[in-house]
């Protein structure tokens, strides 16, 4: 199944592109999707367990993903 992945702030500087579409097995977890990303050429520098949001909500690494989900990698925030 297909997922869209978004990167922000300094995570963008670790990889070739600020967003990407990836293909993972049906029922894959967030952890598996991150591993898939880090296996792509040029994406090795992403952290192993970044904070993530799925469909704009903070999520855990073992969350199951669905086709069309929006996965975002969230570097340590610095708002305010």
């Amino acid at each position: 199944m297909r997922l869209s992945v978004l990167l922000f702030a300094h995570y963008r500087e670790l990889v070739p592109s600020p967003s990407v579409e990836i293909e993972v097995r049906t029922g894959a977890t967030v952890r598996e999707a991150i591993a898939r990303l880090r296996a792509m050429p040029g994406w090795e520098d992403l952290p192993e367990e970044p904070t993530v949001a799925v469909n704009r909500e903070y999520s855990q690494p073992d969350r199951e993903l669905h086709a069309g989900d929006e996965l975002a990698l969230i570097p340590p925030v610095a708002g305010g």
Partner: protein
């Protein structure tokens, strides 16, 4: 961006529910507009404004650039405001966070709380700014006098591996 959340005025005869308004915007924040928040029953108004300082950790700063995951940040900000309203019995809360390039002295965030009593206003305001710093998907890049720049890492967070 559009404001999310509900009306800032309660309907007549129903003064109890808290109405919140959360907004992430590239436009300059007009903090003075927030001074009108609340109703005739709200004896306390507390307005917090976070502004760009000319230094950080002893280093002079020329300006800041804020980046946000805007759609998520608006949703998360509204969730924070609702939590504050539930915990603190505030009746109206409005918060705005700015993105883009900000000069020294410009407001990066403004939080207004109206409440019948002051204790609730102070508690809610403090809760909102602390949660924003912990949870809002917003990042800032400091630009220095020599033109160099760097992402600001919140001191309380572990850097990503």
């Amino acid at each position: 961006m559009k404001a999310t959340g509900d009306r800032t005025k309660a309907p007549a005869g129903d003064p109890d529910p808290c109405f919140v308004s959360a907004c992430i915007t590239e436009e300059p924040i007009q903090a003075e507009r927030l001074l009108d928040l609340g109703s005739r029953a709200d004896g306390a108004l507390l307005l917090f404004v976070g502004r760009v300082r000319d230094h950080n950790d002893g280093r002079p700063v020329a300006r800041l650039r804020y980046e946000a995951y805007t759609e998520m940040a608006e949703r998360e900000l509204e969730a924070i405001l609702r939590e504050a309203a539930d915990r603190c019995e505030a009746t109206r809360i409005e918060a705005v966070h700015r993105t883009g390039t900000l000069e020294i002295g410009e407001a990066s965030v403004a939080i207004a709380v109206a409440s019948p009593h002051r204790a609730a206003a102070f508690e809610a305001s403090r809760y909102v700014i602390e949660e924003i710093k912990k949870r809002l998907p917003v990042w800032k890049r400091e630009v220095y006098a020599d033109g160099s720049d760097a992402w600001v890492h919140a001191a309380s967070e572990d850097p990503p591996r």
